[in-house]
Amino acid sequence: MPALNKKNLVGRKDYGVKVARPYYDVRNCADNQLLFNSGWPILQIVGVYKCEVVKTVGTIPTGWIYIRTSHYDYDYCASNSEMVITSMDIDEYKPSIVSDEFVNVTVYIGYRHNLGYPPLAFPSRKLSSLQNHVVITNIDISKDVDYPYTDAPLEYFGGDLDYGVKSRAYWMKEMPKGNGIIGYGINSRLSSKMVQSVKTDETIDTSGGNQYINWEPPKDASGNFLNTLADFEFYGFGTADGSDVYYPLPVNYYPLGGTAESAEYVNVNYYNSAASFSQASLVVLRSPMVSPKIVEVTYNGS
């Protein structure tokens, strides 16, 4: 077992706004019996922005093309305190009937957000049919933190949800009307993924020469895992020497027994002898407090 990053646990916020699920008492219910808690580190969308081209790597030949971006660039955004960068949507492979050849061309696009922190952001095409935009969240990937909200998701048992907290989203000119779900900022009917941890190189345990960010799921008082790795999403980032831009890094999984059902730990190797990284980050998102509907399908190929 490697040296885990030191904890940076924030306390439960005993103030703010809480909304309980139908039939539960907000004064004494568990986290997974709440609809909303203003203390939860939930994902919010700070803004959606159209991007401009910042850089092109490679040359597109005439005739036929197979354009491919780096695997990680295509999936994620890179960001610093001023800008978010991703890669442009590109046409699919167009084969030649004469010969086959693969050409790597990457067009980088970006938006200058000037938020003052490097946010967790996503290419818009990964979330919708909107292309060449970025979706910026409220998560600061450079700030090390661990949250205490570890309850497993709870099934929704029904009940009227026309109560709680609502606010108008930034693009709406007036408050939405009726019992719809569109156009709200805060709406206790919306259940979000939450941040479980953001681990940076600031809390790396360097004893024994360890140079990796290492994180494991929370444990109970007896030392048993409360979750499996499958209950989380992991995003790894690292900055190259002399740069403050957090680029995607691979996250390595080390489950017990070789399956995600047996949680052990994940790590981000931010130290690369070929190109050492000066800063690193592992963002861990956890499932919402409401569990999904599970449908079982057997696919036989027909």
Partner: protein
């Protein structure tokens, strides 16, 4: 960022993130959890048919749609190879919105990767053997755990996906001569315990299929992956798998260790299709009611 922000509420926190009432929660509608946050638990019992690849080396048509990229390559000997990807609909359900919502999916579970390979040898001369050893399978089970944003092609490393062939230097029954021995070297052995490599002749060069290579290494395409598409009505879960078809002619000399200057005209065909039989995985689709097009601040 523009708009009037003198409303709503904020939490003031010294640690972590601050809540802001005008920023939309990136979440799903609890009242419609059956559609907005659904896990489709898939048990894959499908077996892809390696012989469905047509002899004319055009893309397979047994899938819902043959993906657009395939190669067709011909060398001076008349060898041809082709590969492509088949797209199959695995599951779908209605999401309940009358527009395309935003969202993403993650995959958790195990993807068992293997391939079915069929080797056929023909020859123009006396010494040839057709489909001597028939089909064989090399199973490579890889446990893959992915929690990533939307479409992720799974590039498993199939440890030891080989075509094994070279064994004891004895000719098969009824066949004799140096040519037969040479042909034997090209024949595949059935079984997964063989540790020798096969050399598929392609002109002067022996092309070693296997030896740690995977379909994705050779042709830069993933052997199999899952993707989710969302339209104005449905969430659709697709599986993609790769196929490969190589028809190799040798009408020049073929070398193998210990022997030189062997001449014959021989052909072999290697067909391969990726399998994901026995995989069990969850496709967790997470939809928000937000239309990103309405949320652009600098559009």
């Amino acid at each position: 960022m523009g708009l009037n922000n003198n409303y709503g509420f904020k939490t003031l926190d010294e640690d972590g993130t601050s809540l802001n009432g005008k920023w939309p929660i990136f979440g799903f509608d609890i009242e419609n959890v059956e559609r907005a946050f659904r896990t489709t638990r898939i048990t894959d019992t499908s077996v892809n048919n390696v012989t469905s690849i047509p002899s004319t080396l055009t893309p397979v048509t047994d899938g819902e749609l043959t993906y657009t990229y395939y190669q067709y390559y011909t060398d001076g000997n008349g060898s041809k190879n082709s590969h492509g990807v088949v797209k199959k609909l695995v599951a779908q359900y209605e999401h309940g919105y009358d527009y395309i919502p935003s969202g993403y999916f993650t995959i958790t579970g195990n993807m068992n990767m293997s391939a079915t390979v069929r080797v056929d040898q023909t020859g123009s001369g006396t010494y040839y053997v057709q489909n001597y050893y028939g089909d064989f399978n090399r199973q490579g089970d890889v446990n893959i755990n992915y929690n990533k944003l939307t479409s992720v092609p799974i590039y498993p490393y199939m440890d030891g996906f080989y075509l094994y062939g070279l064994g004891p230097m004895s000719a098969p029954p009824g066949v004799s001569g140096q040519g037969a021995v040479g042909q034997y070297m090209m024949q595949a052995k059935i079984g997964i315990t063989n540790t020798n490599d096969i050399i598929v002749p392609s002109g002067q060069n022996g092309y070693i299929l296997g030896n740690g290579y995977t379909v994705s290494d050779i042709y830069d395409i993933p052997a199999a992956y899952i993707d989710v598409e969302i339209d104005s009505k449905y969430v659709k879960i697709y599986k993609y798998y790769a196929w490969y078809d190589s028809y190799v002619r040798v009408n020049r000399y073929f070398t193998y260790p210990g022997s030189e200057d062997m001449f014959w005209d021989i052909s072999n065909r290697i067909r391969m299709v990726a399998q994901t039989t026995g995989s069990t995985f969850d496709v967790n689709v997470y939809l928000t009611p937000h239309k990103l097009e309405d949320m652009v601040l600098n559009g």
